[in-house]
């Protein structure tokens, strides 16, 4: 690995040591963060899978009924029946955070009661079934939206965190360790050079005195 060149001074050495310490601590924290994220992600992903299967089953039922209804009613009639919704939906959207990642939190504040937006005289029973099924699927759909978005955000964040952990573990920390070792060796070498020079001088002085 190509280590960065540092000046072999004591100042640089102590700076590097401090940085290494920070890097090691950061690495540990990132690792903990990653582990916790993965744990939560797996819980979310499981839930996501379940919810999606449920929602899709419910919606398939609704669509089936709707297709049947379309077979028995004319297009215009259906459009007329559905044109004007009997109720609006109100969705409370909050932001919650999972380990400081903002994810959505949705809750529906409308009543669960099913209201048909049309009279029963000109519509087929299949349409009622379709509307009922879709109304039942609605809370599930919202929960799915919340969970799916959270899963996506977490997956993104996990990847980022993992990169950071790897960068620290395999690049930053080895680089610092290597640089510290090099400087330490240079300093020691200087020290030894100095010492032998002193010994030599002393010898020469002694020889002169005799």
């Amino acid at each position: 690995m190509a280590a960065i060149q540092y000046k072999p001074t004591r100042m640089e050495l102590s700076n590097l040591k401090k940085r290494l310490k920070t890097a090691v601590r950061g690495h540990k924290m990132m690792k903990d963060k990653r582990d916790e994220l993965v744990r939560r992600f797996i819980v979310l992903a499981r839930k996501n899978k379940e919810l999606r299967e449920q929602t899709e089953a419910k919606m398939a039922a609704a669509m089936q009924n709707f297709v049947l209804a379309k077979a028995t009613m004319s297009n215009n009639e259906i459009e007329e029946a559905l044109l004007y919704p009997a109720r609006g939906i109100e969705v409370d959207a909050e932001k919650q955070t999972i380990l400081s990642i903002p994810v959505p939190k949705l809750s529906m504040s409308t009543s669960e009661e099913i209201v048909y937006p049309y009279g029963f005289s000109s519509t087929s029973a299949d349409l009622d079934g379709a509307v009922q099924a879709i109304a039942e699927a609605l809370p599930l759909m919202l929960e799915l939206a919340e969970v799916e978005k959270s899963t996506a955000r977490l997956a993104d964040e996990i990847e980022k965190t993992r990169r950071r952990v790897n960068a620290l573990e395999y690049v930053m920390i080895p680089q610092y360790t290597e640089a510290i070792r090099t400087i330490q060796m240079k300093l020691d070498e200087n020290e030894r050079g100095n010492l032998s020079r002193l010994m030599k001088t002393k010898e020469m002085l002694q020889a002169q005195a005799q």
Partner: protein, 107 residues
């Protein structure tokens, strides 16, 4: 953001039904236009946008734009032709990016 609106975008047959429960419905089958529609809806404060699975792959641009934001959530839903498994495939992708291997579906 306290109150969010909910929208469905897709072809007429698939999404007309959602009108009955009070969701805002937009008819769109063209990918380019749907992209623009999504971006506009996001500006107007829609919190959740459901897309039919047929339209979902065509709107990759808009989806990517909002990938890193908490809102709006863009969620694929099956249309009249039934589910094509886009949602599950997405989830699989998330699991693979996060954990490295697919641990949910290999059984």
């Amino acid at each position: 953001m306290a109150k969010a609106k909910v929208a469905v975008i897709g072809d007429k047959d698939s999404v007309m039904l959602f009108k009955a429960v009070g969701i805002d419905v937009f008819y769109e089958t063209d990918g380019e236009k749907a992209n623009r529609q999504i971006k506009q809806l996001a500006r107007e404060g829609y919190g959740v946008i459901y897309l039919t699975e047929t339209l979902y792959p065509l709107c990759a641009d808009a989806i990517e734009t909002f990938q890193t934001e908490p809102y709006p959530a863009i969620i694929p839903i099956p249309d009249v032709h039934g589910s094509q498994g886009t949602g599950i495939r997405n989830l699989k992708g998330y699991v693979e990016t996060a954990v490295g291997v697919d641990i949910l579906f290999n059984t």
